[in-house]
Symmetry: C2
């Protein structure tokens, strides 16, 4: 359970957006859905939020249990899901593991979900 | 089951992003998670994709069963979840209901997930 965190790099998110005007294929839809499933949980959204707003943008389990009001095993479970989805990266230092966001991963999801009408304003046809 | 589709308008998505540098509260996290759950399914992502790329950006169940290889009740079930989440709007015309994307809803989710580093490039501190 230690060597997780490279799932997203290995799996690569779809290059095409479900909203880009061309249907995405089944495999791309499955990859994107699996990352969205990791995001689609209130405790995990709050964890991302707390880590993002922590000093230096990183936090360990010890920082996160009290603000969430959840046990350490539960927080660790959610952190593992986010790490396996490639949304967090994990670094062990001493007895604690520290977590930080992988901004490129979340940025990619945001781009994939940006409706074409919004994107079109950036490079509208003449 | 007919009067759905206004869920998102009634519920309103959080104004703050989980990635905006300030922790989102429990209620906002629950609202955002419920919309992400509706998105986090391969069949539903493909449905959004097919509807978006259809002529006039709209489609009825009758257009969607064959490309997805799913039964009409299954497609209707997924369309209902997307409509209840406020991601699709539904208009009954004759015997068929037609569905189209609610771009503002999906755009809001994309904005909420856009990492601050990306946004910061627009107004970087000197």
């Amino acid at each position: 359970m230690e060597n997780v965190g490279t799932a997203l790099a290995e799996m690569t998110l779809p290059q095409t957006s479900p909203l880009a005007g061309e249907p995405i294929d089944r495999a791309d839809a499955e990859r994107l859905a699996s990352v969205l499933k990791a995001l689609a949980d209130p405790a995990r959204l709050r964890l991302l939020s707390l880590i993002q707003s922590a000093p230096d943008g990183e936090a360990c389990v010890c920082d996160l249990t009290a603000p969430l009001g959840l046990s350490q095993p539960t927080v660790s479970h959610h952190l593992r899901i986010l790490t396996e989805a490639g949304l967090l990266e994990r670094e062990k230092r001493g007895v604690w593991a520290f977590y930080r966001l992988v901004p490129s991963a979340i940025g990619t999801i945001a781009d994939l979900l940006t409706p074409p009408r919004k994107r079109a304003t950036k490079k509208a046809p003449r």
